[in-house]
Symmetry: C2
Subunit: 507 residues, 2 copies
């Protein structure tokens, strides 16, 4: 046997050893996911203290495994941890991609000393409690010192993680790997003007029939119907209730979703089910054989959000989707919808109106809420905005972007939980998700020019198949932008997104 071959075999063996260690860590991480799912859905309230202890123990265990010297040594046998140069001979391209991500994750996981993580956790735990109270009272000064401490810690975090140009790069990379602050700024740049124009063209729409009393059990029954229709596999998941809808990613064979149900908010219940169902289809579609390695994992928060928004908005708020499902919805809610026609329903669920609250925003104004937060976060982290001046900065930017001023801090800069959690860098992924979805959707609609006809007839399975082919099966084989470019043939930009919005909401 030649030396090259010998080395290739040895590299494969080393790679397999990495897979085994990585998979073991993933098993423990998946247990933590189950604990968190249970906590939000099933756990008796009295168990919160022991659950906190269980979560902490499992998180510490996972962290130990991710940063262990055994793991480091194995990893370093195939990739130079300093330079990122691949060492193994004869590794396949996807294996090299896996090594790229393993190294990146390892460097991130081991960059923060335990003492820092503990300080961060303690500070944010306290801040979350204070934030809840501050929002209730609409009292920014109450939250201010805590936010200041968090901003300081996030700057320190950026320093510990390291960055080339901007400290925000390091934070952004935690959630949307390989994308920089400058790139995001550029991607977001054309959106405000384009969206503003769209907002001005909107008519006043009466959606009051959506806010009537809808039976809760029937709402849930309908969630099951549409989840099954989009391809959600109930033998590998389940639908439950929780205060905040979420999807769990325990394993491709165990990805559970939740929604929330209120009598007066029927569409919110269905939309949440589609949104979380979209997240779960991604998890269920990941290549199971590579589970526990980067090739069997989701790509980024933004890419995940693209899948949820795909089903929630691109399909779930389309005319053709409701062409098929509205008669069924009318049948189960005859009193509320019997006299409403499809067009009126379609317009009501796509109503556009600037409002101060992000989570209640429509598809058109949503990105402006994200851009606002991105700009403020960047300024806070780079130090060009003082925490003390946040409420004013928020309000003036809100006026500039959306033409409205929130009536108080609770409906302004205190509305989101993210900052109290220290999740600076997270918000951009919400808008990026919509933009990835739009780019994919353009290609999808070109390839399936009859998609609306098919969907209108209740045929949906080809959609999941397309997403599986172009997104799910690749895991973390490519970066998000590579994946978009690979599918669309175009560099990732805001163009498809703005085109989609104009096409749907223009005139």
């Amino acid at each position: 046997m030649e030396t090259g071959n010998m080395e290739a075999i040895s590299a494969q063996r080393l790679y397999e050893a990495l897979v085994a260690i990585s998979r073991k860590t993933a098993v423990f991480a998946s247990v933590l996911q189950l604990l968190e799912w249970d906590q939000e859905t099933m756990m008796p309230e009295g168990a919160s203290d022991i659950r906190a202890e269980q979560n902490t123990a499992m998180a510490a265990l996972v962290h130990e495994h991710k940063t262990s010297s055994k793991w480091k040594k194995s990893l370093a046998s195939l990739i130079d941890l300093e330079t990122g140069a691949i060492k193994g001979e004869g590794l396949r391209d996807e294996q090299k991609a896996a090594l790229f991500w393993w190294r990146r994750d390892f460097l991130q996981d081991s960059a923060l000393p335990v003492s820092f993580v503990e300080e961060f956790t303690e500070t944010t735990s306290k801040a979350m409690l204070v934030w809840r109270e501050a929002r209730k009272q609409s009292n920014f000064p109450l939250f201010k010192p805590h936010l200041q401490a968090i901003v300081d810690l996030c700057r320190k975090k950026a320093d510990l993680l390291g960055y080339k140009n901007h400290p925000y790069d390091a934070l952004l990379d935690l959630y949307e790997p390989t994308l920089t602050t400058d790139e995001v700024s550029e991607l977001f740049a054309p959106i405000p003007e384009a969206v503003k124009k769209l907002i001005h063209g909107q008519k006043i729409i009466d959606d009051s029939f959506l806010l009537q009393d809808y039976d809760k059990e029937t709402q849930l029954f309908f969630c099951h119907t549409i989840l099954k229709a989009i391809g959600y596999d109930f033998s590998k998941g389940r639908l439950d209730l929780s205060t905040h809808p979420f999807s769990s990613s325990i394993h491709p064979t165990d990805s559970r979703v939740t929604t929330r149900v209120q009598k007066g908010l029927m569409m919110s219940c269905l939309s949440a089910a589609l949104h979380e169902g979209g997240h779960s289809l991604y998890e269920m579609g990941l290549p199971q054989g590579s589970w526990g390695t980067p090739l069997g994992a989701s790509l980024s928060l933004g890419m995940h959000e693209s899948q949820s928004r795909w089903w929630e908005c691109y399909i779930g708020q389309s005319r053709s989707f409701w062409n098929h499902f509205f008669p069924q919805l009318q049948k189960v809610f005859p009193a509320q919808l019997g006299s409403v026609d499809l067009e009126r329903f379609y317009k009501a669920i796509n109503k556009v109106e600037p409002s101060p609250i992000r989570v209640e925003a429509d598809e058109v104004t949503y990105p402006l809420h994200v851009i606002l937060r991105f700009r403020l976060e960047k300024q806070l982290i780079e130090g060009t905005l003082d925490v003390a001046n946040l409420p004013e900065a928020w309000n003036s930017l809100m006026e500039e972007l959306l033409g409205i001023t929130p009536e108080n801090a609770a409906k302004g800069c205190l509305q989101d939980v993210h900052w109290s959690m220290g999740a600076f860098g997270y918000f951009p992924t919400y808008a990026l998700g919509n933009m990835y979805a739009a780019a994919f959707f353009e290609s999808f609609a070109k390839e399936h020019s009859d998609w609306e006809k098919k969907v209108a007839s209740g045929e949906l399975s080809f959609i999941r198949k397309w997403l599986s082919e172009h997104v799910f099966r690749h895991g973390r084989r490519y970066t998000s932008r590579e994946l978009v470019e690979r599918t669309t043939g175009e560099p990732f930009s805001a163009a498809p997104y703005l085109h989609y919005l104009k096409h749907k909401y223009g005139r």
Copy 2:
């Protein structure tokens, strides 16, 4: 400070170190409990493979912690691992009791080499599958070689664990610590004759009204009612459905129960809820501050069973319990029970009739099923009974004890899952549970001579209070027999049990 004091302080510190390590292990073990609860109640069926991997990883982690050199060293600082002599100065009695159990658990946990545990797991995993098929076909020869392998492994297990007199001692001690084979034989000795006499005196009772169709939701509603009444705290637990009813012991603040519900088996649903509720009351009543140490843990399987049978039989099949609850049951099931009077209902739920299946046996004949298994297990382990001759031995003993012969092996020696799991030594705990319960019950009834009047008026809280005082709060402070003697003032024997049965079922 005097040397004695210094040593006492140092012993307290060492003890605290032990508590910290032990608690950490308990946290991981509690996570495993949650995984198992989820598996039986919520888990989507497609997730069974990854769940097996999660369970195995967590079980291995717990085992590593229980047998780690760090733990061994800490333990050895306060107790001699060979002799069991306490080393620390100034330790309190309950701390010495904790050390006794920690040592006993450590020696048991570390007695079995990993290779043996793996062989055992592999053999029993296969055997369980074959057993299911063999029972379906009523085909003992199919199961025979597997049972032979398990008996051989159990003998080996006994050797590895070590014993003084009888290899069965080592297996029994796994489930009912400190009780020996001879002691169990002696405790069981007077039962068969006494029970046989009782059986002969029974009248034929018509319980067909219990086997009508009962609405499932209403059955569950009633389970909630009686669970609340006995003191089950739904803020620290929940009731769900599973194929085989069970209770989980995650933590005193998280102890969940299940039942099963079939239209034609209403009492089975209620009894299971009371049975599992009894187990959970014990868990919920353990001293929370000592959780993760022997002083915050349940004593033995037999003691646990005493708590479930207490509520299922001693209270839940009493006339006074139904004096209060039967009118409520009639109200929710008027069609089925409207024309039935309390006395007829009471007799029907206490019907005595020898039958071949243990899990369907009444309170009187139940111990005979256990004694039969205990005798056969003992003979199999000591080698005086050949596996090949088991069916004949089963049938002739069944004839001797219960006066019936099962029509086939499925209803005979193939009926239980336990042997396929390798759980030799487990069965006696079922009968011991009834006997502990009877001993406690005698004292309870003496102390609360008006208990029937109170219960008949719906007042139940004093019962849990009594159990808490005499059982729950002690954790593993005493051995089972010590605990019984402490409460009753008499050495543990079959007398209270036989007295109870005679009083309730005699003429």
